[in-house]
Symmetry: C2
Subunit: 406 residues, 2 copies
């Protein structure tokens, strides 16, 4: 007997018929002799509608009330799925985030899970009951409702799998696994059988959109074996596992891209100690996450240009914060550009192989693509380019690193 | 300074613009120096959609899961209204049923409110905060979500007004008060300035549909002053109050009708002690509420005919229960008829005036309308007639009792 957490996203539970289909997949897992907890998202489209209503009260609406509103989407799904399971003769009950509870911090609209009390679920397992749990939602220390931010259902599933010490966390989605790159852009993209947590983390945070970044961090920290698989087919998906579970490791595992960042350049910032802190402190206070940062060498010994990227959705807020601090920061000009894309080459094999960066730069140069910003980590190299070159760059790199399917 | 509970129904909060309109009405009450708690329904149409999804899992779906699903409608509204109030510069916060909590019994899908903890709301009043509370939902003893049944938001509002010892409970609705009868049927119907709890109770339970029956019972028991008024105009509505607040009491206050009952006749039931209990016991067990009951005088000393009404939606269930018990009950035939209407004349003044019933019977006879069943109480007389005569009967009685507007 294994203990499995299954997670189904919004398209898998988009209507009553699909919820019945999910119920069949859950029951099949129970019939194999396993204990099952299911985490579900809101029915496709629901969360967008709820968020849209909230946004009609301006960008500065009360995030605590936002969470009250958007948490309802998942609550609908858990009730319906519990009914669908019962319809199949499978014992089941729903648990809201506050009923378990799923304890989070008080960062409303982007809360982090602190602890999940699984006592109720484990009691249910003894009675042969499937636990149906909403993704995305939790309970703040002051007993108000929190949500984990968009895509938080993956995180909920992995956190629940960790809390339940589950043998596996199956993330059912509308793709059948993790690919070497986005198959919509590169027809020759290949599905990976296994990928390491570290690589998946880079893939997720760089825009591969298969798994939410925090869910992968959490899986890595708690060594939760995660399987990304399709809710529409029965083929095995991609296992996200420890590096030592992967026998033959490729140098580069995948190419990721992200078009949801914006570039900000501050011209002629006084080049003195503490200026970076002076710039990024206020942005952090305004909850704007800064990603790539490049500080140019000072031309005149007095001033420098500072370039960095922020999420495109936060660009206006970032610009407002910076303009407000213009006098104290002392920069002469501010340029903002949303027409950029971040292209990344990822692979744990990079650590032991030289020349990976060089291949990337040469490949892009051959296509006439200008690199605006570069950042690197142990297992990835990212470049910022003009957005219009995204597909061209991804295809060229996929071929250059030998990732194309035969 | 007064303490007011306001309640807005589904059409008043049907979209973001209307929610903003509600926020303005709430703020106006605060600006008059009052402490305000607002109870809201789900946005129009939402609950129907949620109920429809649940019903796709058959009539016997788990009512606990049903409550999980349908309680979400009101949760959406409280968050949005809190935002709308904040947008106007009015401090506000939402409280879900489980946060207060609103304690109910465990009759899922038709729970009754046991107690409301108002400590959080009263703390908020001290901070100048409006409390935004969902109608319809509560918390069972086992901490699962309950709902109060359709229309339960009125009950929530009155229960909250009682718990807060509010000076008034204003029920905003799509009509501007309580009328002497349905204005859609009788153009000369008049709006009442005041009506007693007892009369309102008869009006509500007899199908006037302005206020939910249980909310009126609750208001009467706790002496909550209720005002029924329009959310679209500013004119005063109808106050539902104690009899002694009404100086000049009419003999008849209103004419109500209900077309949602069905008549059942059991022919030749053995006329012996205990037969009524034998018939109505199984119906009660099947949760079918029996309303009007007439037992004919026995013609042969051995058998009698028994006629009664049940809610039309429960007719099939009632017939099934009775047919199953046919052998033990010993009746010879069962007739069921949905084409009936119950017409009622209501007024506390009836208690001290003779001849009210006689006027009713004569008026109907003059129009050639046959009376099938009669029941009376201290303050009302109800008759069952063929449904096709409903409008004719209501209009004739409205004129006969001098209720027509000048």
């Amino acid at each position: 007997m294994a203990r499995i957490v299954q997670k189904f996203g919004g398209t898998s539970v988009a209507d009553v018929e699909r919820i019945r289909n999910v119920a069949r997949q859950v029951k099949a897992e129970v019939d194999r002799g396993n204990e099952v907890a299911v985490v579900v998202s809101a029915m496709a489209g629901t969360t967008n509608q709820l968020v849209d209503w909230c946004n009609q009260f301006g960008a500065l609406h009360d995030r605590r009330e936002y969470d009250v509103v958007v948490a309802t989407g998942e609550q609908v799904t858990i009730g319906l799925l519990a009914m669908a399971l019962q319809e199949l003769g499978q014992k089941a009950r729903s648990w809201t985030g506050w009923q378990l509870p799923v304890r989070t911090d008080n960062a409303f609209a982007k809360a982090r899970v602190k602890a999940i009390d699984t006592a109720g679920i484990e009691e249910g397992f003894k009675r042969g009951e499937v636990a149906v749990v909403p993704g995305f939602q939790g309970l703040a220390p002051d007993n108000r409702i929190t949500t984990l931010g968009r895509g938080g259902s993956d995180t909920s599933a992995v956190a629940l799998a960790a809390a339940l010490k589950a043998d596996r966390c199956d993330i059912y989605t509308d793709v059948d696994g993790v690919y070497t790159t986005d198959p919509r852009i590169v027809a020759k993209a290949r599905k990976l059988d296994k990928i390491t947590y570290e690589e998946m983390l880079e893939m997720a945070s760089l825009g591969a959109k298969v798994l939410q970044t925090r869910s992968v961090e959490l899986a890595m920290n708690h060594r939760v074996r995660v399987q990304v698989r399709s809710s529409f087919t029965d083929v095995p998906g991609t296992l996200v596992v420890d590096e030592d579970e992967i026998v033959e490791q490729a140098i580069v595992s995948g190419i990721a891209y992200a078009r949801d960042e914006a570039k900000v350049t501050l011209a002629q910032v006084p080049d003195k100690p503490g200026v970076a802190a002076a710039i990024f402190g206020p942005l952090a206070d305004a909850q704007v996450n800064v990603d790539m940062i490049v500080q140019n060498v000072s031309r005149d010994g007095k001033t420098t240009d500072m370039t960095f990227t922020v999420p495109a959705v936060d660009l206006e807020r970032a610009v407002a914060v910076l303009e407000k601090a213009r006098a104290s920061l002392g920069f002469s000009g501010l340029q903002a550009d949303k027409n950029v894309a971040k292209i990344s080459v990822i692979g744990v094999g990079m650590r032991s192989h030289a020349g990976v960066a060089q291949s990337m730069f040469r490949t892009l140069a051959e296509k006439g693509i200008n690199i605006e910003v570069i950042t690197t980590s142990e297992i990835k190299i990212s470049v910022l380019i003009a957005a219009e070159y995204t597909e061209l760059a991804v295809r060229a790199l996929h071929t250059a690193y030998g990732l194309d399917a035969a």
